[in-house]
């Protein structure tokens, strides 16, 4: 008896009880769907983040007040303080910025300074906005294009000008290109010079959604918000990517010295931000995978159940097959293949479902799940294994049936 015959028979018998097969397969379907969906979502988010951090540049160091990352002795990241600089007593000051600038190997740097207060335009306010004081180096540091207008230059650092994120344009000004419109911030008039291209979704470590940000010159921000010189973060670009680790260590020791021996700041390398978010994503993925494993188990038991019923129902068929010369082994493989086909069918439905779900996610959110053929192969392999493992007992039961007892059975 050939495999193809068995496949044919398996398809026939599944087709003859479609609803029952589908219900039995729910476990497998849910398992496969959740594995593929969660992994593809995780892959997609990771890819988006890595694109984003690549955009920030693999040569840019981010310096934040407070300890953002908890590392163990081996240097592995074991935790992250997501609250960031605002909640810590540690601060970064302009003198720290000066140290950054003086560190050899650092080619350029910029500081981000948060200014409190709400901007208003005519009667409108945008509550989610953040106003950030910074320097003209920012766009090149972020590798972000100004879509309309331009960023302020070195000669304009004393002027009340602003470059805004997309959401600010839409929510505060209710138009796409509010260039040369003016708004009020802390009683001062600011003129919009430019609008940034939309930033990709903010990563966990970034904290601020730059699409909601209003960027104004550093000195102006300092003067309108009462002269504070606390920095939200400092971005520094090294001149040689190869020396990134070296420069980062050097910078760290210089800052520790300036902070009287306290390491109350963090230097994030591009890989760190990626590693932290990837760690969290992996954790979530693992949790979903656990749920998927349980539903696969349920699915396997379902397959076993339906196959046991099927073996009992088809006792006379088994008797007839044995009477015309089927060996125990041939009966065994018939039922094994049937169980496997059943589970492949479940996996196929699961793959289709997860495809639809990720399409929905792409349409409804700005996340972009990536379904790789590896994960499809993995999910299908697992479900075939489940089919084989849980189909074994019923198949053995079928193969061991005594031909004469099976023939006497009234069931067909």
């Amino acid at each position: 008896m050939m495999i193809t015959d068995n496949l044919q028979m398996a398809l026939n018998s599944i087709r003859s009880s479609r609803l029952r097969s589908f219900l039995t397969l729910l476990g497998v379907i849910i398992g496969v769907t959740s594995v593929i969906t969660s992994v593809s979502l995780a892959e997609g988010v990771k890819r988006q983040i890595s694109e984003e951090t690549n955009k920030l540049g693999n040569d840019v160091l981010t310096i934040r007040p407070g300890k953002a990352l908890n590392k163990d002795q081996q240097g592995f990241i074991v935790g992250i303080n997501t609250l960031g600089g605002a909640s810590t007593t540690a601060i970064l000051t302009e003198s720290d910025l000066k140290i950054v600038r003086e560190t050899p190997g650092i080619e350029a740097s910029t500081a981000l300074n948060l200014a409190t207060g709400l901007p208003s335009y005519q009667d409108r306010k945008f509550n989610d906005s953040v106003t950030i004081g910074t320097t003209p180096e920012l766009p090149s540091m972020l590798r972000q294009e100004v879509e309309f207008g331009r960023f302020f230059n070195d000669s304009e650092t004393e002027k009340k000008v602003a470059v805004i994120g997309r959401n600010v344009a839409e929510k505060l000004f209710d138009e796409n290109v509010p260039i040369s419109k003016s708004f009020t911030f802390r009683g001062h008039e600011f003129i919009v010079y430019g609008v940034f291209e939309r930033f990709q979704s903010a990563s966990l470590s970034q904290g601020i959604n730059f699409n909601n940000a209003i960027f104004i010159p550093y000195e102006i921000a300092k003067s309108v918000s009462g002269g504070t010189s606390q920095l939200y973060e400092v971005l520094a670009r090294v001149d040689d990517v190869e020396k990134l680790d070296e420069v980062s260590k050097d910078l760290s020791s210089r800052l520790v010295e300036a902070h009287a021996g306290q390491e109350d700041f963090s230097i994030l390398k591009p890989d760190d931000t990626r590693a932290v978010t990837n760690n969290i994503i992996d954790l979530i993925t693992a949790m979903i995978a656990g749920i998927a494993a349980i539903s696969m188990l349920v699915g396997g038991i379902g397959i076993m159940n339906v196959m046991l019923v099927s073996v009992t129902e088809r006792t006379r068929e088994i008797g007839l097959r044995k009477a015309v010369g089927a060996t125990d082994r041939q009966i065994l493989s018939q039922f094994m293949i049937e169980a496997a086909v059943l589970s492949i069918w479940g996996a196929t439905i699961g793959v289709i479902f997860s495809g639809l779900i990720s399409l929905g996610i792409r349409i409804l959110t700005n996340l972009q799940p990536v379904i790789s053929w590896q994960i499809i192969l993995f999910a299908c392999t697992i479900s075939v294994l489940v089919g084989i493992i849980f189909g074994l007992a019923p198949a053995i039961k079928a193969a061991r049936k005594d031909p004469i007892d099976a023939l006497r059975s009234s069931l067909l």
Partner: protein, 295 residues
């Protein structure tokens, strides 16, 4: 060399007080080319005999040689292969797999033999042509009449050119016209040199046989060689074998016979479906139950 040789074959069911003797020290030899009809009342052990010969069942005691080779030591796998290659079965009903097309049913033994699909289909088609059902090859069994189903079953039984074709009441569920068709077919196969072993309750049908066995209570009581075309004559106790077309008739005639034999032994039993008899030989202690034909 005889195709089938049974020596002292017995079959017991159950144990202790509930032991049933289905076959008792059966001696039987069947030569190649014989058409053997087996008759006897319900519960006399005809099906049991055929199942043992067909390697579906194991004897409790005795020797069985198929084509000169003892089958005792055959493992399940070898028995399956022997069934596939040496034996063709036709059952009373439900002989075909309902979900397979007629041609696939016929080709099934070839499939288990590992023949390639094209060859299988060609061969099965030839077989269906021989039984006159080539035009029904792609029907499902549920779309055929009872007589057609039995002819398909015969085609399947023949496909591996077996040493013996075993048919347990192949015409049991058919009207006389369909019965005739099926019997003509078996007779034709016999004339081509095949060996046929068949159970029937219809004395008319023994016409086609070259030899008739009468079973009674697990033993072969009479073994008559006859020429094909003639009706078998029962030497004694004609009511044992006459008019057993229906269950009722069978039961009546069995009861009548029981009465006869019981009287001989000085014991009178009331007429009832389940007939209790004292064991005739001391070897087996227990009861023999009559089974209805339809079971």
């Amino acid at each position: 060399m005889s195709v089938i040789k049974l020596h002292d074959v017995s079959k017991l069911y159950g144990f202790g007080d509930a032991t049933t003797v289905a076959l008792e020290d059966v001696e039987l030899e069947i030569q190649k080319g014989e058409f053997v009809a087996v008759m006897g009342p319900s519960g006399s052990g005809k099906s049991t005999l055929l199942n043992i010969i067909g390697l579906l069942d194991h004897p409790s005691a005795g020797l069985y040689q198929l084509e000169g080779r003892s089958v005792e030591k055959l493992r399940s796998n070898a028995r399956a292969k022997a069934r596939r290659d040496k034996i063709g079965f036709v059952f009373q009903s439900f002989s075909l797999l309902p979900r397979l097309k007629v041609i696939d049913n016929v080709a099934l033994p070839l499939a288990y033999k590992g023949r390639l699909l094209g060859r299988r289909m060609k061969h099965a088609h030839n077989m269906l042509e021989r039984v006159g059902l080539a035009d029904r090859a792609y029907y499902l069994p549920s779309q055929l009449s009872g007589g057609q189903l039995q002819r398909v079953a015969i085609a399947r039984a023949l496909i591996n050119e077996p040493s013996i074709i075993i048919a347990d009441e192949p015409t049991g569920n058919l009207d006389s016209a369909s019965s005739r068709l099926v019997m003509e077919l078996l007779s034709e196969i016999h004339k081509l040199g095949n060996t046929v072993l068949m159970v029937t309750h219809n004395p008319e049908i023994t016409r086609y046989a070259s030899r008739v066995l009468y079973m009674y209570d697990g033993s072969i009581e009479y073994d008559v060689q006859k020429s094909v075309g003639q009706l078998a004559k029962t030497p004694r106790e004609p009511n044992l074998f006459a008019g057993e077309n229906t269950d009722e008739d069978t039961l009546q005639s069995v009861s009548a016979t029981m009465k006869l034999s019981d009287e001989k032994e000085g014991l009178l039993q009331p007429k009832k479906k389940k007939i209790r008899r004292k064991p005739r030989k001391k070897k087996f202690v227990g009861t023999t139950k009559g089974r209805s034909k339809s079971s």
